[in-house]
């Protein structure tokens, strides 16, 4: 009797200790993740609050972390004084056009590789090497050629360059999606009299549309974020957001932050959207293309 009771007491104590340890483990896990979230998201929080601060909050000491009277005046200033609206639209237009063009050109190529093993391992390896290529090696000859053809400070020149630069990335991702596509559906369509191209456009594309969207969003964000080509090739009319933000660096680190922080908020907006939409594909997308330079 006594032994049995003692045993059960020991057992409950063990269970309690186990539960306490597990609870402590969970607490530490979430504590660690909370610290990570503060480090990785803190700068965004600060940038957003700074962009909403008025002069009084900005110059106050002790510092004001949350604006007492939030205002959008810096955004208005950015859009009117610094022609931010124009550069925002430039970024949007250039990224969207390059995204569509890259997708349109890459899909048949990816199809050719996925269905017919076109180019064998060589083409795939070649595309991978292109992804490793430093942009700085490309921009020097491109600059000289573009100067010759009058393509600097020109939307078309930028769109062409971005389209081609993201083809390797788009092809790599699309080949993966196409390989997962059941070939039988396509063959059935072709037996019914569809041409290869029509089968691709009307049967394959609608089904792999989610995959296409993933590739498109990555191409969009990559073009949106690109800086080296943009700083070399754009002029006063064709600047993108990435180039605009560099204009706020003159005057030391303490130049007034209002419009600068507003432009950063607008510049990182797509990244937030894409990170949530593409959570499952982030590893692949970032490994193959992602942010460069």
């Amino acid at each position: 009797m006594a032994i049995a009771i003692e045993r059960s007491v020991v057992a409950t104590r063990r269970v309690k200790r186990y539960r306490a340890r597990r609870w402590a483990g969970h607490a530490l896990t979430y504590l660690g993740l909370a610290a990570a979230l503060v480090f990785f998201l803190g700068p965004f929080f600060w940038i957003v609050t700074t962009s909403l601060k008025g002069n009084e909050d900005f110059f106050a000491y002790p510092p004001v972390w949350i604006p007492s009277e939030p205002s959008l005046s810096h955004y208005v200033g950015l859009f009117t004084r610094s022609s931010g609206a124009r550069y925002f639209m430039n970024s949007l237009a250039i990224s969207s056009l390059s995204m569509l063009a890259a997708l349109a050109v890459s899909l048949p190529t990816a199809y050719s590789i996925a269905r017919w093993r076109f180019g064998g391992g060589f083409l795939s390896a070649f595309l991978l090497v292109l992804r490793m290529l430093p942009a700085i090696a490309l921009i020097i000859p491109i600059y000289i050629m573009y100067k010759l053809f009058g393509l600097t400070n020109n939307y078309l020149g930028l769109v062409i360059l971005y389209t081609v630069v993201y083809i390797p990335f788009a092809v790599w991702l699309l080949v993966g999606f196409l390989r997962d596509f059941p070939i039988e559906i396509e063959e059935a369509a072709m037996i019914d009299g569809c041409s290869r191209l029509r089968a691709l456009a009307q049967v394959v594309v609608p089904i792999i549309a989610p995959g296409l969207a993933v590739v498109a969003l990555f191409a969009f964000i990559a073009t949106w974020n690109e800086f080296l080509f943009a700083i070399v090739l754009t002029g006063i009319e064709t600047k993108t957001m990435m180039v605009l933000v560099t204009s706020f660096t003159s005057g030391g680190t303490d130049a007034f932050f209002g419009e600068a922080s507003a432009s950063v908020v607008l510049g990182v907006l797509p990244a937030f959207a894409v990170a949530f939409m593409l959570e499952r594909y982030l590893v692949k997308g970032l490994a193959l293309g992602g942010t460069k330079g």
Partner: protein, 301 residues
């Protein structure tokens, strides 16, 4: 007979037709310019002097690899930034990935939130940090003063050493999320049964980390480090916005140095030669990367 021949012919022709638009574009916008750059690297084309140039052989390469202290210095600077960044990104990324793998509810949303810095342009991330490093109104100095850690307005880009530390910190902020994502994917591919049976055999969590997690994660880590290493050789936007290479050239990376030679001095030929030296370095790194991939596939098969 004739119909079969046409079908065969068409079959051989179709793959080319489908692939050709991209291949033509890549040839025109990437391959040809690269060949042209190699041709240029053997001339002495200098836009600040004039449009005429002549063949000088390997002179530019000799200058880059032997005489150019600034370029060789930038190779050293790049290495000095890469080494601590890679080490800390790997350790921190592994730590966070391990924490994330223990989370049961809400993992996708926490992962997406932590991944955001990696999706942001280096220029935008750099600008945010540049403002945070601000001497009088920056968040870091203000917070430090409020907490009583800093008692002066500290200039984070004042001395070469601190400036490198500041750049490395931003680089860690920017790319640890990538490492975390790669390692999290690697962790999730390790079968849970291994841990369960180790537990039955009385292994402590520490033991199963050393003898299950680390060995099985080795290749994932190698691939992640390789990708980061290759991308770090291209470090440009962050430098442009944070320090512009300063103070005293302490944070001038190879890509940034080449940019200055090309688009500030307009020495097109010499910049092309520098770019090719970088390409050579990156190519060696890429081959190592491919070799690791192949070894991994061989292991998996």
């Amino acid at each position: 007979m004739r119909i079969a021949a046409i079908a065969l012919k068409r079959k051989q022709w179709e793959p080319f037709a489908f692939a050709s638009p991209s291949l033509v574009l890549i040839a025109a916008v990437i391959v040809f310019p690269l060949a042209y750059a190699f041709y240029l690297s053997l001339q002495n084309f200098d836009l600040s002097v004039g449009p005429e140039y002549e063949y000088v052989g390997a002179q530019n390469y000799v200058e880059a690899l032997v005489k150019d202290q600034r370029f060789l210095g930038s190779v050293w600077n790049t290495a000095v930034i890469i080494a601590p960044s890679l080490a800390i990104e790997l350790l921190l990324g592994l730590g966070i990935a391990l924490l994330l793998s223990r989370v049961i509810r809400g993992r996708p949303i926490i992962t997406a939130l932590l991944a955001i810095p990696a999706m942001v342009s280096p220029v935008m991330g750099g600008m945010a940090w540049r403002m945070m490093y601000g001497v009088k109104f920056g968040a870091i100095n203000n917070l430090g003063r409020q907490l009583g850690i800093l008692d002066v307005y500290f200039d984070w880009f004042g001395s070469p050493f601190i400036a490198v530390v500041a750049v490395v910190l931003v680089e860690i902020w920017h790319n640890t999320p990538f490492m975390m994502l790669v390692l999290l994917a690697g962790l999730q591919s390790i079968p849970q049964e291994l841990y369960d049976s180790a537990k039955v055999d009385g292994a402590t969590p520490w033991q199963s980390f050393w003898s299950i997690t680390l060995p099985l994660l080795k290749f994932t880590m190698a691939v992640g480090v390789m990708i980061r290493l290759i991308d770090l050789t291209k470090l440009f936007g962050l430098i442009f916005i944070l320090t512009f290479g300063g103070p005293g050239g302490a944070t001038e990376t190879v890509a940034f140095n080449t940019y200055l030679v090309g688009f500030k001095d307009f020495r097109m030929s010499y910049a092309s030669a520098l770019a090719y030296v970088i390409v050579g370095g990156v190519l060696v790194l890429t081959l190592v990367f491919l070799w690791i991939q192949r070894a991994r596939e061989a292991r998996a098969a």
